[in-house]
Symmetry: C2
Subunit: 328 residues, 2 copies
Protein backbone atom coordinates (compact mmCIF):
# COMPACT_ATOMS: atom_id res chain seq x y z
CA UNK A 1 0.00 0.00 0.00
CA UNK A 2 3.00 2.28 0.33
CA UNK A 3 3.68 4.11 -2.91
CA UNK A 4 7.21 3.68 -4.21
CA UNK A 5 9.05 6.95 -3.76
CA UNK A 6 10.45 8.26 -6.99
CA UNK A 7 13.41 10.48 -7.46
CA UNK A 8 13.71 11.73 -10.98
CA UNK A 9 16.92 13.41 -12.02
CA UNK A 10 16.36 14.79 -15.48
CA UNK A 11 19.82 15.66 -16.63
CA UNK A 12 21.12 14.57 -19.99
CA UNK A 13 17.84 12.66 -20.29
CA UNK A 14 18.84 10.16 -17.62
CA UNK A 15 15.88 9.39 -15.37
CA UNK A 16 16.64 7.60 -12.11
CA UNK A 17 14.09 5.82 -9.97
CA UNK A 18 15.11 4.84 -6.47
CA UNK A 19 13.74 1.77 -4.75
CA UNK A 20 14.13 3.45 -1.37
CA UNK A 21 10.76 4.00 0.24
CA UNK A 22 9.75 7.30 1.70
CA UNK A 23 8.57 7.72 5.29
CA UNK A 24 4.80 7.32 4.85
CA UNK A 25 4.10 10.03 7.41
CA UNK A 26 5.50 12.73 5.13
CA UNK A 27 2.38 12.40 2.99
CA UNK A 28 0.25 13.43 5.96
CA UNK A 29 1.85 16.87 6.25
CA UNK A 30 -0.67 19.59 5.42
CA UNK A 31 0.45 22.02 2.70
CA UNK A 32 3.97 22.26 4.00
CA UNK A 33 4.81 24.92 6.49
CA UNK A 34 2.63 28.02 6.74
CA UNK A 35 5.10 30.62 5.54
CA UNK A 36 6.15 28.95 2.26
CA UNK A 37 2.40 28.75 1.51
CA UNK A 38 2.05 32.48 2.14
CA UNK A 39 5.07 33.13 -0.10
CA UNK A 40 3.28 31.37 -2.95
CA UNK A 41 0.24 33.63 -2.55
CA UNK A 42 2.61 36.61 -2.45
CA UNK A 43 4.31 35.50 -5.68
CA UNK A 44 0.99 35.11 -7.50
CA UNK A 45 -0.04 38.56 -6.29
CA UNK A 46 3.19 40.15 -7.55
CA UNK A 47 2.65 38.54 -10.97
CA UNK A 48 -0.88 39.96 -11.06
CA UNK A 49 0.11 43.43 -9.80
CA UNK A 50 3.78 43.90 -10.72
CA UNK A 51 3.72 47.61 -9.77
CA UNK A 52 1.91 47.29 -6.43
CA UNK A 53 3.75 48.52 -3.34
CA UNK A 54 3.53 45.41 -1.22
CA UNK A 55 3.56 45.68 2.60
CA UNK A 56 4.58 42.56 4.51
CA UNK A 57 2.99 42.14 7.96
CA UNK A 58 3.46 38.39 7.61
CA UNK A 59 6.37 36.41 9.03
CA UNK A 60 7.28 39.19 11.44
CA UNK A 61 10.89 39.99 10.71
CA UNK A 62 12.59 42.77 12.63
CA UNK A 63 13.79 45.86 10.75
CA UNK A 64 15.52 48.17 13.24
CA UNK A 65 19.30 48.12 13.94
CA UNK A 66 20.40 46.40 17.17
CA UNK A 67 21.96 48.53 19.95
CA UNK A 68 25.65 49.43 19.66
CA UNK A 69 26.49 47.68 22.92
CA UNK A 70 25.45 44.31 21.46
CA UNK A 71 27.09 44.80 18.06
CA UNK A 72 30.36 46.04 19.57
CA UNK A 73 30.51 43.07 21.92
CA UNK A 74 30.04 40.59 19.06
CA UNK A 75 32.61 42.41 16.92
CA UNK A 76 35.17 42.34 19.74
CA UNK A 77 34.72 38.60 20.18
CA UNK A 78 35.21 38.05 16.43
CA UNK A 79 38.35 40.21 16.42
CA UNK A 80 39.80 38.32 19.38
CA UNK A 81 39.66 35.04 17.46
CA UNK A 82 42.68 36.25 15.47
CA UNK A 83 44.77 36.61 18.64
CA UNK A 84 46.52 33.94 20.70
CA UNK A 85 44.67 35.00 23.86
CA UNK A 86 41.24 35.28 22.28
CA UNK A 87 41.20 32.21 20.04
CA UNK A 88 38.64 29.50 20.87
CA UNK A 89 38.10 26.12 19.18
CA UNK A 90 35.02 23.97 19.75
CA UNK A 91 32.50 25.56 22.10
CA UNK A 92 31.51 23.76 25.29
CA UNK A 93 28.99 21.00 24.47
CA UNK A 94 26.31 22.21 26.88
CA UNK A 95 26.93 25.89 26.14
CA UNK A 96 29.29 28.62 27.34
CA UNK A 97 29.91 28.13 31.06
CA UNK A 98 29.58 31.80 32.02
CA UNK A 99 26.35 32.07 30.04
CA UNK A 100 24.85 29.00 31.71
CA UNK A 101 25.73 30.44 35.12
CA UNK A 102 24.15 33.79 34.26
CA UNK A 103 20.98 32.09 32.98
CA UNK A 104 20.63 29.96 36.11
CA UNK A 105 21.20 32.90 38.45
CA UNK A 106 19.10 35.42 36.55
CA UNK A 107 16.19 33.50 35.07
CA UNK A 108 15.81 30.49 37.37
CA UNK A 109 16.94 31.85 40.73
CA UNK A 110 13.56 31.29 42.40
CA UNK A 111 13.33 27.61 41.45
CA UNK A 112 16.92 26.85 42.47
CA UNK A 113 18.09 25.54 39.12
CA UNK A 114 21.87 25.01 39.04
CA UNK A 115 24.04 26.14 36.11
CA UNK A 116 24.90 22.49 35.44
CA UNK A 117 21.20 21.92 34.73
CA UNK A 118 21.07 24.66 32.06
CA UNK A 119 21.65 23.64 28.45
CA UNK A 120 22.19 26.23 25.71
CA UNK A 121 20.80 24.67 22.56
CA UNK A 122 20.72 25.70 18.92
CA UNK A 123 17.00 26.49 19.01
CA UNK A 124 13.76 25.32 20.56
CA UNK A 125 12.32 23.92 17.33
CA UNK A 126 15.15 21.41 16.78
CA UNK A 127 15.07 20.47 20.46
CA UNK A 128 11.35 19.82 20.53
CA UNK A 129 11.79 17.41 17.64
CA UNK A 130 14.64 15.68 19.44
CA UNK A 131 12.71 15.45 22.69
CA UNK A 132 9.87 13.77 20.83
CA UNK A 133 12.24 11.06 19.61
CA UNK A 134 12.99 10.20 23.22
CA UNK A 135 9.42 9.00 23.69
CA UNK A 136 8.53 7.52 20.33
CA UNK A 137 9.95 4.53 18.51
CA UNK A 138 9.45 2.65 15.28
CA UNK A 139 8.16 -0.54 16.84
CA UNK A 140 4.58 0.23 15.94
CA UNK A 141 3.57 0.89 19.54
CA UNK A 142 2.14 4.34 20.06
CA UNK A 143 4.11 5.42 23.09
CA UNK A 144 3.13 9.05 23.39
CA UNK A 145 -0.19 10.82 23.33
CA UNK A 146 -0.04 14.49 22.60
CA UNK A 147 -2.15 17.46 23.64
CA UNK A 148 -1.81 20.84 22.00
CA UNK A 149 -3.44 24.20 22.28
CA UNK A 150 -5.82 24.59 19.37
CA UNK A 151 -3.60 27.12 17.71
CA UNK A 152 0.15 27.46 18.03
CA UNK A 153 3.26 27.54 15.87
CA UNK A 154 2.71 24.83 13.28
CA UNK A 155 6.24 23.40 13.37
CA UNK A 156 5.55 21.38 16.53
CA UNK A 157 2.59 19.68 14.88
CA UNK A 158 4.65 18.83 11.80
CA UNK A 159 7.30 17.03 13.85
CA UNK A 160 4.56 14.96 15.52
CA UNK A 161 3.25 14.07 12.07
CA UNK A 162 6.66 13.05 10.70
CA UNK A 163 7.41 10.69 13.58
CA UNK A 164 3.96 9.15 13.23
CA UNK A 165 2.39 10.32 16.49
CA UNK A 166 -0.27 12.63 15.05
CA UNK A 167 -2.43 10.07 13.26
CA UNK A 168 -4.41 10.94 10.14
CA UNK A 169 -5.58 14.43 9.21
CA UNK A 170 -9.32 14.93 9.21
CA UNK A 171 -10.23 17.42 6.51
CA UNK A 172 -13.55 18.43 8.06
CA UNK A 173 -12.33 19.33 11.53
CA UNK A 174 -8.87 20.45 10.46
CA UNK A 175 -7.48 18.20 13.21
CA UNK A 176 -5.19 15.19 13.44
CA UNK A 177 -6.83 12.06 14.84
CA UNK A 178 -4.31 11.25 17.59
CA UNK A 179 -3.86 14.79 18.86
CA UNK A 180 -6.08 16.20 21.60
CA UNK A 181 -6.75 19.89 21.08
CA UNK A 182 -7.28 22.19 24.06
CA UNK A 183 -9.63 25.07 23.48
CA UNK A 184 -7.95 28.45 23.70
CA UNK A 185 -9.67 31.70 22.93
CA UNK A 186 -10.73 35.08 24.23
CA UNK A 187 -13.17 33.30 26.61
CA UNK A 188 -10.29 31.82 28.64
CA UNK A 189 -7.60 34.43 28.00
CA UNK A 190 -6.03 32.06 25.48
CA UNK A 191 -5.04 29.59 28.21
CA UNK A 192 -6.74 26.16 28.36
CA UNK A 193 -8.60 24.67 31.31
CA UNK A 194 -6.39 21.72 32.24
CA UNK A 195 -9.08 20.26 34.53
CA UNK A 196 -11.17 19.60 31.43
CA UNK A 197 -8.30 18.05 29.47
CA UNK A 198 -7.97 14.28 29.12
CA UNK A 199 -4.82 12.77 30.66
CA UNK A 200 -2.13 12.35 27.97
CA UNK A 201 1.62 11.74 27.88
CA UNK A 202 2.81 15.02 26.42
CA UNK A 203 1.33 18.51 26.59
CA UNK A 204 2.62 21.24 24.30
CA UNK A 205 2.40 24.76 25.68
CA UNK A 206 3.49 27.79 23.76
CA UNK A 207 3.99 30.54 26.33
CA UNK A 208 4.24 33.42 25.61
CA UNK A 209 1.83 32.18 22.98
CA UNK A 210 2.65 32.75 19.33
CA UNK A 211 0.51 34.22 17.75
CA UNK A 212 -1.36 35.94 20.58
CA UNK A 213 1.66 36.38 22.87
CA UNK A 214 -0.57 35.84 25.89
CA UNK A 215 1.53 34.47 28.76
CA UNK A 216 0.65 31.98 31.49
CA UNK A 217 1.44 34.48 34.24
CA UNK A 218 2.27 38.16 34.34
CA UNK A 219 5.98 37.89 35.08
CA UNK A 220 7.87 36.21 32.26
CA UNK A 221 11.64 36.34 32.81
CA UNK A 222 13.49 37.85 29.90
CA UNK A 223 16.59 39.66 28.69
CA UNK A 224 15.34 42.68 30.66
CA UNK A 225 16.38 40.99 33.93
CA UNK A 226 20.02 41.66 33.03
CA UNK A 227 21.27 44.96 34.52
CA UNK A 228 21.82 47.54 31.78
CA UNK A 229 20.02 45.51 29.12
CA UNK A 230 16.77 47.37 29.67
CA UNK A 231 18.30 50.73 28.82
CA UNK A 232 20.24 49.39 25.84
CA UNK A 233 17.41 47.51 24.21
CA UNK A 234 14.57 49.72 25.39
CA UNK A 235 14.60 52.19 22.52
CA UNK A 236 14.32 49.41 19.93
CA UNK A 237 11.55 47.65 21.87
CA UNK A 238 9.66 50.91 22.40
CA UNK A 239 9.84 51.59 18.68
CA UNK A 240 8.08 48.31 17.89
CA UNK A 241 5.64 48.82 20.78
CA UNK A 242 4.60 52.17 19.30
CA UNK A 243 4.08 50.39 15.95
CA UNK A 244 1.82 47.86 17.66
CA UNK A 245 -0.16 50.63 19.36
CA UNK A 246 -0.75 52.38 16.02
CA UNK A 247 -1.98 49.23 14.30
CA UNK A 248 -4.06 48.10 17.28
CA UNK A 249 -5.82 51.46 17.60
CA UNK A 250 -6.47 51.60 13.86
CA UNK A 251 -8.10 48.17 13.82
CA UNK A 252 -10.09 48.82 17.01
CA UNK A 253 -11.36 52.12 15.59
CA UNK A 254 -12.75 50.15 12.65
CA UNK A 255 -14.84 48.05 15.05
CA UNK A 256 -12.63 44.98 14.80
CA UNK A 257 -11.94 42.86 17.89
CA UNK A 258 -8.16 42.75 18.37
CA UNK A 259 -6.02 40.71 20.81
CA UNK A 260 -2.31 40.89 21.67
CA UNK A 261 -0.31 43.91 20.56
CA UNK A 262 0.11 45.33 24.03
CA UNK A 263 3.31 43.64 25.17
CA UNK A 264 3.67 41.83 21.90
CA UNK A 265 4.92 42.41 18.37
CA UNK A 266 1.79 40.85 16.83
CA UNK A 267 -1.89 41.69 16.72
CA UNK A 268 -4.44 38.89 16.46
CA UNK A 269 -7.58 40.13 14.71
CA UNK A 270 -10.97 38.42 14.89
CA UNK A 271 -13.20 38.17 11.78
CA UNK A 272 -16.23 36.25 13.14
CA UNK A 273 -17.79 33.84 10.66
CA UNK A 274 -15.00 34.19 8.08
CA UNK A 275 -12.41 31.70 6.91
CA UNK A 276 -8.95 33.11 7.58
CA UNK A 277 -7.45 32.30 4.15
CA UNK A 278 -10.42 34.14 2.57
CA UNK A 279 -9.76 37.24 4.68
CA UNK A 280 -6.04 36.94 3.93
CA UNK A 281 -6.73 36.87 0.16
CA UNK A 282 -9.29 39.70 0.40
CA UNK A 283 -6.89 42.02 2.23
CA UNK A 284 -4.00 41.13 -0.09
CA UNK A 285 -6.14 41.74 -3.19
CA UNK A 286 -7.52 45.07 -1.98
CA UNK A 287 -4.60 46.60 -0.05
CA UNK A 288 -1.45 44.70 -1.17
CA UNK A 289 -0.78 43.79 2.48
CA UNK A 290 0.55 40.34 3.41
CA UNK A 291 -0.77 39.00 6.75
CA UNK A 292 -0.89 35.50 8.28
CA UNK A 293 -4.10 33.43 8.19
CA UNK A 294 -4.88 32.20 11.71
CA UNK A 295 -5.83 28.71 10.54
CA UNK A 296 -2.15 28.19 9.81
CA UNK A 297 -1.67 27.97 13.58
CA UNK A 298 -4.35 25.30 14.03
CA UNK A 299 -8.13 24.85 13.92
CA UNK A 300 -8.67 27.41 16.72
CA UNK A 301 -7.25 30.18 14.53
CA UNK A 302 -9.78 29.82 11.70
CA UNK A 303 -11.54 33.19 12.13
CA UNK A 304 -8.35 35.14 12.90
CA UNK A 305 -5.50 36.94 11.13
CA UNK A 306 -2.10 37.64 12.64
CA UNK A 307 -0.39 40.90 11.69
CA UNK A 308 3.23 41.59 12.56
CA UNK A 309 4.08 45.06 13.84
CA UNK A 310 7.80 44.74 13.14
CA UNK A 311 8.71 47.24 10.45
CA UNK A 312 9.76 50.80 9.76
CA UNK A 313 7.30 53.36 11.17
CA UNK A 314 6.27 54.66 7.74
CA UNK A 315 5.36 51.11 6.66
CA UNK A 316 3.06 50.63 9.65
CA UNK A 317 1.46 54.05 9.07
CA UNK A 318 0.89 53.25 5.40
CA UNK A 319 -0.59 49.84 6.28
CA UNK A 320 -2.94 51.51 8.79
CA UNK A 321 -4.07 53.98 6.13
CA UNK A 322 -4.82 51.23 3.62
CA UNK A 323 -6.72 49.13 6.19
CA UNK A 324 -8.75 52.19 7.21
CA UNK A 325 -9.69 52.81 3.57
CA UNK A 326 -10.76 49.20 3.14
CA UNK A 327 -12.82 48.68 6.28
CA UNK A 328 -14.38 52.09 7.00
Amino acid sequence: MIPQARLEIQKERVVCHTRVQRNVNLEKLQNGYLFPEISMHELQHIRKYPDAKLINLGIGDTTEPIPDIVAVSMAEYAHALSTVEGYRGYGAEQGNKALRKAIAETLYKDVQVKDSEVFVSDGSQCDITRLQYCTCSDNGIKTAEIVMENFMTQAYIDTSVIIGQAGDFEEKSGKFGNIEYMNCGPQNNFFPDLAKTRRTDIIFFCSPNNPTVYVTDDSPRSIFEIPGAKEAVCSVVNYYKENAKILLETLASLGLKVYGGENAPYVWVHFPGSKSWDVFDYILEKTHIITVPGSGFGPGGEEFLRMSTFGHRETILEASKRLKNLFS
Copy 2:
Protein backbone atom coordinates in the same frame (compact mmCIF):
# COMPACT_ATOMS: atom_id res chain seq x y z
CA MET B 1 7.84 -6.01 27.62
CA ILE B 2 8.92 -2.39 27.44
CA PRO B 3 10.25 -1.18 30.77
CA GLN B 4 8.38 1.80 32.17
CA ALA B 5 10.62 4.83 31.91
CA ARG B 6 11.12 6.52 35.24
CA LEU B 7 11.90 10.12 35.88
CA GLU B 8 12.81 10.78 39.47
CA ILE B 9 12.95 14.35 40.65
CA GLN B 10 14.32 14.28 44.16
CA LYS B 11 13.61 17.73 45.44
CA GLU B 12 12.02 18.30 48.82
CA ARG B 13 11.67 14.51 48.95
CA VAL B 14 9.04 14.49 46.21
CA VAL B 15 9.66 11.59 43.83
CA CYS B 16 7.81 11.70 40.52
CA HIS B 17 7.35 8.75 38.22
CA THR B 18 6.15 9.43 34.71
CA ARG B 19 4.01 6.96 32.82
CA VAL B 20 5.49 8.16 29.53
CA GLN B 21 7.46 5.39 27.87
CA ARG B 22 10.92 5.90 26.52
CA ASN B 23 11.90 5.13 22.93
CA VAL B 24 13.12 1.53 23.27
CA ASN B 25 15.92 2.12 20.79
CA LEU B 26 17.74 4.43 23.20
CA GLU B 27 18.71 1.37 25.25
CA LYS B 28 20.61 -0.01 22.28
CA LEU B 29 23.07 2.90 22.14
CA GLN B 30 26.59 1.72 22.99
CA ASN B 31 28.27 3.67 25.80
CA GLY B 32 27.11 7.01 24.56
CA TYR B 33 29.24 8.96 22.18
CA LEU B 34 32.97 8.27 21.98
CA PHE B 35 34.29 11.55 23.34
CA PRO B 36 32.27 11.66 26.58
CA GLU B 37 33.65 8.15 27.23
CA ILE B 38 37.20 9.42 26.70
CA SER B 39 36.48 12.34 29.05
CA MET B 40 35.59 9.86 31.79
CA HIS B 41 38.92 8.07 31.37
CA GLU B 42 40.63 11.46 31.44
CA LEU B 43 38.85 12.41 34.68
CA GLN B 44 39.86 9.15 36.39
CA HIS B 45 43.46 9.72 35.26
CA ILE B 46 43.52 13.26 36.67
CA ARG B 47 42.22 11.95 40.01
CA LYS B 48 44.99 9.33 40.06
CA TYR B 49 47.75 11.73 38.94
CA PRO B 50 46.64 15.22 39.98
CA ASP B 51 50.04 16.75 39.15
CA ALA B 52 50.57 15.11 35.74
CA LYS B 53 50.97 17.42 32.74
CA LEU B 54 48.26 16.01 30.53
CA ILE B 55 48.57 16.30 26.72
CA ASN B 56 45.34 16.01 24.74
CA LEU B 57 45.68 14.53 21.23
CA GLY B 58 42.07 13.38 21.48
CA ILE B 59 39.07 15.24 20.08
CA GLY B 60 41.26 17.33 17.78
CA ASP B 61 40.46 20.90 18.64
CA THR B 62 42.32 23.69 16.87
CA THR B 63 44.58 25.99 18.89
CA GLU B 64 46.00 28.63 16.53
CA PRO B 65 44.38 32.07 15.93
CA ILE B 66 42.44 32.47 12.68
CA PRO B 67 43.78 34.88 10.02
CA ASP B 68 43.03 38.59 10.44
CA ILE B 69 41.17 38.75 7.14
CA VAL B 70 38.52 36.34 8.43
CA ALA B 71 38.18 37.89 11.91
CA VAL B 72 37.97 41.42 10.52
CA SER B 73 35.26 40.41 8.06
CA MET B 74 33.15 38.83 10.81
CA ALA B 75 33.66 41.83 13.08
CA GLU B 76 32.60 44.23 10.33
CA TYR B 77 29.40 42.28 9.73
CA ALA B 78 28.60 42.35 13.46
CA HIS B 79 29.24 46.10 13.64
CA ALA B 80 27.00 46.74 10.64
CA LEU B 81 24.03 45.16 12.43
CA SER B 82 23.80 48.32 14.53
CA THR B 83 23.33 50.49 11.43
CA VAL B 84 20.22 51.04 9.31
CA GLU B 85 22.05 49.92 6.15
CA GLY B 86 23.71 46.86 7.66
CA TYR B 87 20.88 45.46 9.77
CA ARG B 88 19.52 42.03 8.78
CA GLY B 89 16.64 40.07 10.34
CA TYR B 90 15.99 36.38 9.64
CA GLY B 91 18.54 34.86 7.30
CA ALA B 92 17.40 33.35 4.01
CA GLU B 93 15.94 29.88 4.66
CA GLN B 94 18.22 28.05 2.23
CA GLY B 95 21.28 30.12 3.13
CA ASN B 96 22.80 33.45 2.11
CA LYS B 97 22.19 33.95 -1.61
CA ALA B 98 25.69 35.24 -2.44
CA LEU B 99 27.23 32.35 -0.52
CA ARG B 100 25.12 29.76 -2.35
CA LYS B 101 26.15 31.30 -5.67
CA ALA B 102 29.83 31.23 -4.72
CA ILE B 103 29.59 27.60 -3.58
CA ALA B 104 27.88 26.51 -6.81
CA GLU B 105 30.37 28.36 -9.01
CA THR B 106 33.49 27.44 -7.07
CA LEU B 107 32.94 23.93 -5.74
CA TYR B 108 30.42 22.41 -8.16
CA LYS B 109 31.27 24.13 -11.43
CA ASP B 110 32.22 20.90 -13.20
CA VAL B 111 28.96 19.12 -12.41
CA GLN B 112 26.79 22.10 -13.36
CA VAL B 113 25.01 22.48 -10.04
CA LYS B 114 22.95 25.67 -9.89
CA ASP B 115 22.99 28.01 -6.88
CA SER B 116 19.30 27.23 -6.33
CA GLU B 117 20.32 23.61 -5.73
CA VAL B 118 22.78 24.53 -2.96
CA PHE B 119 21.51 24.49 0.62
CA VAL B 120 23.56 25.97 3.47
CA SER B 121 22.63 23.94 6.53
CA ASP B 122 23.50 24.17 10.21
CA GLY B 123 25.77 21.13 10.07
CA SER B 124 26.09 17.76 8.41
CA GLN B 125 25.35 15.75 11.54
CA CYS B 126 21.87 17.24 12.08
CA ASP B 127 21.13 16.92 8.38
CA ILE B 128 22.09 13.27 8.19
CA THR B 129 19.65 12.56 11.01
CA ARG B 130 16.93 14.50 9.22
CA LEU B 131 17.60 12.76 5.91
CA GLN B 132 17.22 9.41 7.65
CA TYR B 133 13.74 10.39 8.82
CA CYS B 134 12.73 10.83 5.21
CA THR B 135 13.14 7.11 4.61
CA CYS B 136 12.09 5.56 7.91
CA SER B 137 8.74 5.53 9.65
CA ASP B 138 7.17 4.18 12.81
CA ASN B 139 4.83 1.73 11.11
CA GLY B 140 7.03 -1.23 11.92
CA ILE B 141 8.12 -1.70 8.32
CA LYS B 142 11.86 -1.55 7.91
CA THR B 143 12.09 0.81 4.97
CA ALA B 144 15.80 1.44 4.78
CA GLU B 145 18.80 -0.83 4.80
CA ILE B 146 22.06 0.81 5.66
CA VAL B 147 25.66 0.19 4.66
CA MET B 148 28.56 1.85 6.42
CA GLU B 149 32.29 1.79 6.20
CA ASN B 150 33.60 -0.33 9.04
CA PHE B 151 34.94 2.68 10.84
CA MET B 152 33.69 6.23 10.65
CA THR B 153 32.41 8.99 12.91
CA GLN B 154 30.12 7.25 15.39
CA ALA B 155 27.35 9.87 15.36
CA TYR B 156 25.86 8.52 12.11
CA ILE B 157 25.51 5.07 13.63
CA ASP B 158 23.81 6.46 16.73
CA THR B 159 21.11 8.19 14.68
CA SER B 160 20.41 4.91 12.87
CA VAL B 161 20.07 3.22 16.25
CA ILE B 162 17.68 5.83 17.68
CA ILE B 163 15.29 5.63 14.73
CA GLY B 164 15.33 1.85 14.95
CA GLN B 165 17.12 1.04 11.69
CA ALA B 166 20.30 -0.46 13.14
CA GLY B 167 18.87 -3.56 14.79
CA ASP B 168 20.42 -5.12 17.88
CA PHE B 169 24.05 -4.76 18.88
CA GLU B 170 26.09 -7.94 18.81
CA GLU B 171 28.69 -7.82 21.56
CA LYS B 172 31.02 -10.35 19.96
CA SER B 173 31.39 -8.74 16.54
CA GLY B 174 30.94 -5.17 17.74
CA LYS B 175 28.36 -4.74 14.96
CA PHE B 176 24.66 -3.91 14.69
CA GLY B 177 22.55 -6.66 13.15
CA ASN B 178 20.81 -4.61 10.45
CA ILE B 179 23.85 -2.67 9.29
CA GLU B 180 26.11 -3.99 6.55
CA TYR B 181 29.73 -3.06 7.17
CA MET B 182 32.10 -2.47 4.25
CA ASN B 183 35.70 -3.44 4.85
CA CYS B 184 38.07 -0.48 4.78
CA GLY B 185 41.73 -0.73 5.59
CA PRO B 186 45.26 -0.23 4.37
CA GLN B 187 44.71 -3.09 1.87
CA ASN B 188 42.18 -1.01 -0.12
CA ASN B 189 43.45 2.49 0.68
CA PHE B 190 40.58 2.83 3.16
CA PHE B 191 37.96 2.81 0.39
CA PRO B 192 35.57 -0.15 0.09
CA ASP B 193 35.05 -2.35 -2.97
CA LEU B 194 31.46 -1.53 -3.93
CA ALA B 195 31.30 -4.49 -6.33
CA LYS B 196 31.51 -6.79 -3.33
CA THR B 197 28.87 -4.91 -1.33
CA ARG B 198 25.31 -6.19 -1.10
CA ARG B 199 22.65 -3.90 -2.59
CA THR B 200 21.08 -1.75 0.15
CA ASP B 201 18.97 1.39 0.34
CA ILE B 202 21.42 3.78 1.94
CA ILE B 203 25.21 3.89 1.84
CA PHE B 204 27.11 6.11 4.25
CA PHE B 205 30.43 7.44 2.98
CA CYS B 206 32.69 9.63 5.03
CA SER B 207 35.03 11.34 2.55
CA PRO B 208 37.53 12.73 3.37
CA ASN B 209 37.38 9.92 5.88
CA ASN B 210 37.48 10.76 9.57
CA PRO B 211 39.70 9.37 11.13
CA THR B 212 42.09 8.50 8.30
CA VAL B 213 41.26 11.51 6.12
CA TYR B 214 41.75 9.39 3.02
CA VAL B 215 39.67 10.82 0.17
CA THR B 216 37.82 9.11 -2.66
CA ASP B 217 39.84 10.95 -5.31
CA ASP B 218 42.87 13.19 -5.26
CA SER B 219 41.16 16.51 -5.89
CA PRO B 220 38.79 17.45 -3.08
CA ARG B 221 37.38 20.94 -3.53
CA SER B 222 37.90 23.14 -0.53
CA ILE B 223 38.23 26.66 0.82
CA PHE B 224 41.54 26.85 -1.07
CA GLU B 225 39.63 27.21 -4.37
CA ILE B 226 38.70 30.76 -3.35
CA PRO B 227 41.20 33.34 -4.69
CA GLY B 228 43.25 34.81 -1.85
CA ALA B 229 42.10 32.24 0.68
CA LYS B 230 45.17 30.11 0.13
CA GLU B 231 47.55 32.86 1.14
CA ALA B 232 45.43 33.94 4.11
CA VAL B 233 44.87 30.52 5.60
CA CYS B 234 48.10 28.92 4.43
CA SER B 235 50.26 29.86 7.39
CA VAL B 236 47.79 28.32 9.85
CA VAL B 237 47.40 25.16 7.78
CA ASN B 238 51.15 24.83 7.30
CA TYR B 239 51.61 25.13 11.05
CA TYR B 240 49.34 22.12 11.67
CA LYS B 241 50.90 20.24 8.73
CA GLU B 242 54.33 20.64 10.29
CA ASN B 243 52.87 19.28 13.57
CA ALA B 244 51.55 16.24 11.70
CA LYS B 245 54.92 15.67 10.04
CA ILE B 246 56.70 15.73 13.42
CA LEU B 247 54.31 13.22 15.00
CA LEU B 248 54.21 11.00 11.92
CA GLU B 249 58.01 10.81 11.66
CA THR B 250 58.34 10.12 15.38
CA LEU B 251 55.90 7.21 15.25
CA ALA B 252 57.38 5.80 12.03
CA SER B 253 60.88 5.97 13.52
CA LEU B 254 59.61 3.75 16.35
CA GLY B 255 58.64 1.09 13.82
CA LEU B 256 54.91 1.80 14.03
CA LYS B 257 52.75 1.66 10.90
CA VAL B 258 51.07 5.08 10.53
CA TYR B 259 48.38 6.27 8.08
CA GLY B 260 47.01 9.75 7.34
CA GLY B 261 48.91 12.78 8.61
CA GLU B 262 50.08 13.90 5.20
CA ASN B 263 47.23 16.15 4.10
CA ALA B 264 45.38 15.58 7.32
CA PRO B 265 45.32 16.82 10.90
CA TYR B 266 45.17 13.26 12.30
CA VAL B 267 47.48 10.26 12.33
CA TRP B 268 45.99 6.76 12.43
CA VAL B 269 48.39 4.37 14.12
CA HIS B 270 48.26 0.58 13.79
CA PHE B 271 48.92 -1.68 16.82
CA PRO B 272 48.45 -5.17 15.30
CA GLY B 273 46.87 -7.68 17.66
CA SER B 274 45.98 -5.12 20.34
CA LYS B 275 42.61 -3.85 21.50
CA SER B 276 42.46 -0.10 20.98
CA TRP B 277 41.04 0.80 24.41
CA ASP B 278 43.93 -1.20 25.97
CA VAL B 279 46.51 0.78 23.97
CA PHE B 280 44.65 4.00 24.83
CA ASP B 281 44.83 3.19 28.57
CA TYR B 282 48.46 2.06 28.36
CA ILE B 283 49.61 5.28 26.66
CA LEU B 284 47.55 7.44 29.04
CA GLU B 285 48.95 5.63 32.10
CA LYS B 286 52.57 5.80 30.95
CA THR B 287 52.76 9.18 29.16
CA HIS B 288 49.71 11.20 30.31
CA ILE B 289 48.67 11.57 26.65
CA ILE B 290 44.99 11.38 25.65
CA THR B 291 44.38 9.76 22.23
CA VAL B 292 41.28 8.25 20.59
CA PRO B 293 40.73 4.47 20.52
CA GLY B 294 40.00 3.39 16.93
CA SER B 295 37.21 1.02 17.98
CA GLY B 296 35.18 4.13 18.80
CA PHE B 297 34.84 4.60 15.04
CA GLY B 298 33.55 1.08 14.43
CA PRO B 299 34.72 -2.54 14.41
CA GLY B 300 37.31 -1.85 11.68
CA GLY B 301 39.20 0.50 14.00
CA GLU B 302 39.89 -2.06 16.74
CA GLU B 303 43.69 -2.22 16.36
CA PHE B 304 44.16 1.51 15.74
CA LEU B 305 44.56 4.78 17.65
CA ARG B 306 43.81 8.23 16.27
CA MET B 307 46.04 11.10 17.37
CA SER B 308 45.17 14.70 16.64
CA THR B 309 47.99 16.97 15.49
CA PHE B 310 46.13 20.19 16.29
CA GLY B 311 47.97 21.95 19.09
CA HIS B 312 50.76 24.36 19.92
CA ARG B 313 54.13 23.24 18.53
CA GLU B 314 55.69 22.72 21.98
CA THR B 315 52.81 20.37 22.89
CA ILE B 316 53.40 18.20 19.83
CA LEU B 317 57.17 18.15 20.47
CA GLU B 318 56.61 17.16 24.10
CA ALA B 319 54.15 14.42 23.05
CA SER B 320 56.68 13.09 20.54
CA LYS B 321 59.35 12.97 23.24
CA ARG B 322 57.12 11.04 25.63
CA LEU B 323 56.06 8.55 22.94
CA LYS B 324 59.71 8.03 21.97
CA ASN B 325 60.61 7.28 25.60
CA LEU B 326 57.76 4.80 25.88
CA PHE B 327 58.20 2.83 22.67
CA SER B 328 61.97 2.86 22.01
